[in-house]
Symmetry: D2
Subunit: 412 residues, 4 copies
């Protein structure tokens, strides 16, 4: 049985969804077409997504396209309960509330899989992996995956020869990865830190672990707020790029001693561990912007601290044996989703337009695609950018015939 | 009778104040000295300040110095009720709750004046002006004023020959105006806009009205978040500075057509009026970062709109006759204080250290200062900066004897 | 017969090369190894490269590796005559002087091809294309190409089924394209504009045509100097990225009316034509940062103008029929190479380390590689970054065994 | 007898002056008025200014106003010989060539004083101080001073009770100090470093000594070019401002170990001395942007080094006893003027418009002003900004009557 926290919140949720939709012109245009063309008629989709106002706009677009939707969260803490209630009222089958236990979280995902879906839509890979581990994958025709973390997991699954159906790596679309991961996480991570702490960023040492798409976005926004930004990396090329971008690059072991604020964005585990925490300054603040809550080792914090208490919402103080205190935001989970509201609608517009068009593509190509992690077709990417620019009132140049010819030539 | 919203919130308020104090090392050091030296013993202070966690740290420092404090808000919407409760429990006489009516607001200020204060501490000038208009000024020995707006009002009062006691323009201290107004308002205005709207700032047209200390701070932070920033000004020198800083300068009448987000920071009234609103794009967002709620003409909005509704907290939609909608944040009041938590503690640390030391200076110089708006003594300014740097672990150079001599010389 | 402008300049050229080498630690380390291992012993290399102090360090490294070098320029205006003289003295066979005519330029390239080279090293594609058009290609074992423009030409050649030997696209190495094209051209383009004009950049409208690697670098540096930056593009995804990076995006036809300074960086032709020039402001400045002098249509300028004169070195004034004047820098050729000294050594260090290691790779794999445009092997890329970081004194993290394992796993 | 290097350079000088004038619209407008009104008719002006193309535009404007001009340089290395020749041809009495000895430099200044001037126009204070030391001051009616350094010297002279005539501190005009010192020196210092070294700035540690107007400008431009910027200061308030602006603040003794590039901008002497140089990295680059060549102690460098040589123009290598090499730019003199061309015309336009209007003001108020360092009248400042904005095509708002009234009011 679908389940949300409080159906009475539906009204507030609807206002919230309407506000999001007003800032998602690309997805709105797709939704209008879906309503007319009904390309998903009769299909079932199992989704594991952060249940936010932007996800709601996507779910309703898929419904308008004819699909029946089963929605579970992709993080126990990221559900907006008013939105969940509004979706339930709109006929989406929602299994989500903020503050689920781990077992409730996996229960919710499995409920969606039990609904016999044609397609999966995943954020982080938990749904897809469970589909494969628990035998649901055989009857599924295809899926999409939203995040870097999820794509890496599914590529590992593919490498192990176990992937059973085609999954479109929505994350890797240029109009997703170059925007959502960079500008979306950049802004919303700063937002989450401010809501959780209200501290001054200007003049602080701000350590960003990882200089991928997400890390780059955060580092730039932190600098834009006046911080002195340190980057840690394991990849020499990315490290060099950070250095040339004017950031200070050093190993985490050195950064740990300097930092006032730490944000992890690596897609890896154990980036900040006991050995680092021990050398931190009194008052250091730790946050994570990567998909899983393993980048800052919460386990290490729990083991090493003498006491803990919650000082503000999403702000937990740990007292260390050396007398110092460190502060963990949002329990080490995605700080932008837990302490703030996740990415702004404008950027989710692009990511989710890719989602909607990828599902439509999976339907059209049903049975023809290999059981691999496959890229978003280039035309989808360009189409999303084109509609977005138009919605922003931005016109661009186009190639003249002479220019197209010039680009094709190689003669002197 | 002192009055707060709910005494039961005191516990939460205390946590909040503790968090603020941990980020206010300068004021904390002064408070420790005050507790030992008791420079304010037996004195009464009437204050009209935003009742936030940072103000609480100041009030408690003054109490530790021996003063009895009567505290009213300086804006009907900016009180943090948990902090007010905590202060009440600590013995501060508080007349403040969030969402006061205008008459309650002025009642609260007058209650503080009725307490027969020796000194006033003001934010915006309402307390000081009322003291003069209602005959309390005669028995008051001095005061301080926190804001640009307040200082301008008191200078007008002085020009009219009506100022009755010396008021220290804390706002004009370098360690106040160059920090609080620039970095504090810069960050917290962005914070307020994000909390109220969760919109994307990158790629948006962001219009800042006014390029004084506050406007400059906001323009820089907006750019740091990826916005295309337009500045409007009435002063040619400031306008030119904005242009050379890489901002686009134009009259509001032109900016109105382009802007996605508008923030006023002029200290003036009627900066955004009906004529501007009429030409705005559908979805335009209006916010104010100046002291009074007159910079965006709320009256014009109310008069011209066909309907209004609240879509999110602090986000009011106005439907215009031309079918477009504009969104007013925080009812046109200080967006950083109403929709977020005001300036970060770190920067209030400096402003309020100036406040505490200025009050101490007024006590020492009681009876010797003219009834004028007077500057913060330079040594206070330097002292605040010096303690702040030390608390940040920053060491600086000092002049050698040879260098001091060099600076004094004029020979070839 | 090899030919330079003035052999007497060799001394000055050597100082210049020494200064460059001091800032090229990666290439220097490779040169030291080459001298010991002599991997290029007995081989002949025909190169068409900008004859600058950095190229000299590369040529001498190849010579130290055992090769005999025949060097022609890759642009008639970019040769540094003192460097050419120094190289001649060091035994490199140089056919280059600044200000060659077009026929001299192609003569120089063909002289190098006549030397029966084993490998070609090209910058822009003129050498490789001539090798194919004039029948030298059959006896050549492989080549490298330095630029975006050259790679595009050779891919067109490959598409037409005419490429006869493997060419490594050095341009596409991450340690080349993400650094040289972005940071190198970014800085040196600003440098070239300043040397040619000495105008103020702050407060100006600065139009960048193209938002690829090069365009992005220029746009960022122009903003860093205080300009209001406009970007024009033909690709919707890049255009959107520019917009989200805070730049103003519009078609050239609109930008033409606003711009004070224009820089083309598209790899295409006819980006700024008569129709644009006609609508420009009096005093507009035109520069090109793309490989060929066709991006700003010099032909159009010549045809439409009533008069022209040279006001400063590299600054030509054109008087238009409408009475306005526009200024063309460096005859529309690469402004960073003609009006300044090209990329800084530090960044050429990385590009040319890729060149040296790619030539060594071609030698080792001789006969085994397909006649295609092929990428730089990933290990070369990483190795270049690693040495560079070490030379900058930057240490980075490395993955722990647990982390490597975590990255391989996909389970929940 | 007036003297320049080579009268044959006058043609080139005229082109150069014409280019400058085209970018100096405010001064050009004043010159047109001067030519009509002849406010300086019959007066003699002795000037000690950097003899650049922009100064030439000012001198010719003063001449158009009716004055007879005697011009000496304000730095032995900053004269542009072609400009000097052009001015001589135009009837200005010029005593200036690049590379004067110290005694020639002071001879030139005294020649101008011997011409019995009514007014002095100074840059750095050498002329004014000599006028006072050698007894010329008595017959002089007033003067102007262009720089921070000069104003500080003249204030010291005034403090010592020795100033004999009123000197207008042109430097302190807002339209001078906030523009010329910040944006002008910021850009031209970067320009000078690039021309002298062609090194990469991105990724480098860039140390700026002093965070006054000039230091702030340089620090911002260095950051804009991708450097990691360190600031050193002696003033705690400025140090704190640098920290909040995101710069790294530390004492020079620590910065010396880290820096790749050092620029002094303090107005003081001995900022970089032997003790600092000894701890620098091999290859460190030293430059000065302050008025006198005493900020980097050239004397210390000369004393401590084992050998020196010139590697490029304006780039001198010093070999230290520890085997390391440091590089001094432009002999420690103003790097922007010696290695590049000084401030861009656009910003000198404003400074020199203040000069021209200040001289006119001195003429009008002759005999009425006290023998003090006096500020530029506020109306001149605003007027300069207003004309500048107009020339840039920028329109701004003006206060409505209601707004003016609002600003005058203090009531609740």
């Amino acid at each position: 049985m679908p389940k949300v926290k409080d159906e009475g919140l539906a009204g507030k949720g609807k206002d919230s969804i309407e506000w999001a939709r007003a800032h998602m012109p690309v997805l709105s245009e797709i939704a209008r077409r879906f309503l007319k063309e009904r390309p998903l008629d009769g299909l079932r989709i199992a989704a594991s997504m952060h249940v936010t106002k932007e996800t709601a706009v996507l779910m309703l677009a898929l419904r308008d396209g004819g699909a029946r939707i089963f929605l579970s969260p992709s993080n126990p803490l990221s559900t907006q309960d008013d939105v969940a209630a509004a979706l339930a009222e709109e006929g989406i089958e929602v299994y989500a509330w903020r503050g689920m236990s781990e077992s409730e979280y996996f229960w919710a995902i499995e409920e969606c899989l039990k609904a016999d879906p044609d397609f999966t839509m995943d954020d982080g890979g938990d749904l897809t992996v469970m589909a494969h581990e628990k035998g649901y994958a055989e009857r599924i025709a295809g899926g999409t995956e939203e995040t870097t973390t999820g794509v890496l997991r599914l590529m590992a699954l593919e490498r192990d020869g176990k992937l059973r159906y085609p999954v479109i790596a929505v994350n890797n679309a240029e109009t997703k990865r170059n925007f959502d991961n960079v500008y979306g996480t950049g802004q919303s991570t700063i937002d989450g830190i401010l809501r959780a702490t209200n501290i001054m960023i200007a003049g602080k040492w701000f350590v960003v672990a990882g200089y991928g798409y997400v890390g780059r976005g955060i580092a730039n926004r932190a600098r834009g707020m006046g911080a002195k930004v340190i980057v840690t990396e394991v990849d020499p090329i990315r490290a060099l790029m950070a250095a040339m971008d004017g950031f200070i690059v050093m190993p985490m072991r050195e950064a740990a001693k300097l930092g006032d604020i730490f944000v992890t964005a690596t897609g890896n585990s154990g980036v900040i561990k006991a050995e680092h925490v021990s050398s931190m300054k009194d008052g250091a603040i730790l946050a994570n912007a990567g998909h899983f809550d393993v980048e800052v080792s919460v386990k290490d914090l729990e083991l090493m601290s003498l006491a803990k208490r919650d000082l503000r919402e999403n702000l937990r103080e740990y007292l260390l044996p050396n007398g110092k205190r460190v502060y963990l935001l949002a329990e080490g989970r995605l700080v932008n989703l837990v302490a703030a509201e996740g990415h702004p609608s404008e950027v989710m517009d692009m990511s989710f337009a890719n989602q909607a068009l990828s599902i439509e593509y999976l339907v059209k190509e049903r049975g023809k695609l290999p059981a691999k992690v496959i890229p978003v077709p280039r035309w989808i990417d360009s189409e999303v950018a084109r509609i977005k620019l138009r919605s922003m009132g931005i016109e661009i140049d186009s190639l003249t015939k002479e220019q197209e010819e010039y680009l094709r030539s190689w003669r002197i």
